[in-house]
Symmetry: C2
Subunit: 322 residues, 2 copies
């Protein structure tokens, strides 16, 4: 896991998170144990636990307080992925069969809810009102983001505000909470917690925009799914929104986006339209703005290896190719 | 709502729960507001909030502490119903179209998760570690129950232990928690809390067994769904388990239960087999045992109107026809 190298400062505890997650999903029920293990072993960057741990390192690191929080964050994320795969009808993720593909929709729905419920057990054990309140609020907002994605799919008339509303809820808030609550768990003062929350929010927005750009520009091999997956599923992302406003072929592009039964040639035509009008670069510029703002927040924090590594992570996201 | 009359002692606060629930599901998102409102307005007995409130009345009633708890309990219950309707492919509940029927699976999955997330906001506001821990543990167990139901469906070889494992998780634990946590929220002493938890557990088991009996014995009009729905869906309940062990036609019954594509005549044949061998009465006897045990727990509590009404509720469940 290349991304892990960025998190040298918390490497050992990140491994501990992984070990403990393996333990916690071993239940009385053999099937839930199996579905959860398949999910865990499918990899993932453990980005949210890593952020919580590094955030802890920026203050007085408390391993025992951070571990259950870090695990809870990953479980919330995993739960949302399982439900996403049902909603999006996805059969592979990162090239590996999804729970949906192996066990079907019914089992997937309860595996997702089960992982979410397991996160609640960990959150309750944190016994910290800020942690439970923030994560409860975010869980509500994540659902709002998902619903908006379903409602707005195949709709070429949505605007940049709709897009930001959605990615904030789908991605940025949980990354913001990871940074924020890592500091909260270690008892950091308010100004410190708030700076990390904003860092995480800006970084999360950039992370999702980059993800959406890569869906157009990366290779199928790197993505583990076909290029243009979002378009095929009717998810209108930032490059598409820019192209719908500015491309000379915008009317034809809108037509293709709206069509729920696109042909392969039409998908490729839409991708070309988006690439040719400079929409990709414009989206990258927006992402870079967010990364700049994220790094700016770090200036408010005490200097040291942990804060440095948050800066390096921001730089990495600006350059990542997968 | 006839059941409401049993809860005279907390009538006004139960109405307040309903009003506040209507408010809380009004969100930024018009669709989530609509789906949640449809669910709320579909009625339901608000049994879990009622138990929490009555439990509070058995000690030093604290309305402000009980209201968020009571609402959270109903939201957890409603969330599980929405997901159930997706899993069971149900188009009506109590004669009213389900969220699934009106908006489809995708929206239903997120409506369920959304209601569950809203319950977490309320639980966090309770700021009571026992409440958050108990409800987190139960959420995990409810998923285990649902998964076991899926895995064991159409399986005539399951036994009474499997059935008890399932209904404990699907129904009894949340009713037990409602009684237990209503007392916890009001600061009742441990022995008091534990007696109410056991009362709720025994009563919840009886409640589900009665539900499963009524699926064979009530009329379609009363049930709001066809008689024998469980059989059709492959859910093997206590009367069926008794009949599978004792009926002279048990081999034929097993054959019908196993068949995923039953004909209407076969469903009726199975119902008759179950009714003729005395399995229904045997299931009712088990339910009555649980009710007896539930009422026994009440002897440990201080006498008064609230405890009396818990006794009346137990009697009512033994006689209920819907």
């Amino acid at each position: 896991m290349k991304a892990l190298q960025l998190f040298k400062v918390i490497k050992d505890d990140l491994k501990a998170v992984d070990r403990e997650l393996q333990k916690i999903v071993k239940t009385q029920d053999p099937l839930l144990t199996e579905t959860s293990a398949q999910l865990l072993n499918a990899g993932g960057k453990r980005l949210r636990p890593a952020f919580a741990l590094v955030a802890g390192k920026t203050y007085q690191y408390k391993s025992d307080k951070l571990l259950p929080l870090a695990m809870a964050l990953e479980l919330i994320h995993m739960a949302s992925l399982v439900h996403d795969d049902v909603i999006d009808d996805s059969y592979t993720r990162r090239g590996i069969p999804t729970v949906k593909a192996s066990w079907g929709d019914q089992i997937s729905i309860y595996t997702g809810t089960y992982l979410f419920a397991q996160s609640l057990v960990l959150i309750a054990s944190c016994d910290n009102r800020v942690i439970s309140t923030v994560l409860a609020d975010i869980s509500v907002k994540m659902c709002e983001g998902e619903i908006q994605q379903i409602v707005s799919s195949f709709d070429p008339k949505q605007n940049i505000k709709d897009y930001f509303f959605r990615i904030k809820r789908k991605t940025a808030l949980l990354i913001a909470a990871s940074c924020q609550l890592g500091a909260v768990a270690c008892g950091a003062p308010d100004y410190h917690v708030r700076a990390l929350a904003r860092y995480g929010y800006f970084l999360g927005m950039a992370f999702q925009i980059t993800d959406d750009v890569l869906d157009f520009t990366a290779s199928e091999q790197v993505l583990g799914k076909p290029v243009g997956s979002d378009l095929r599923q009717g998810i209108v992302t930032l490059p598409a929104i820019f192209a719908l406003a500015e491309s000379p072929n915008r009317l034809r592009l809108a037509e293709i986006i709206e069509n729920k039964d696109k042909k392969e040639g039409e998908v490729l035509e839409a991708i070309n339209t988006i690439k040719e009008c400079g929409a990709i670069q414009k989206a990258i510029n927006v992402s870079n703005c967010y990364l700049f703002k994220a790094k700016h927040e770090l200036k408010l924090l005490p200097k040291g290896r942990a804060v440095d590594s948050l800066g390096v992570i921001a730089d990495y996201i600006g350059k990542r190719k997968f």
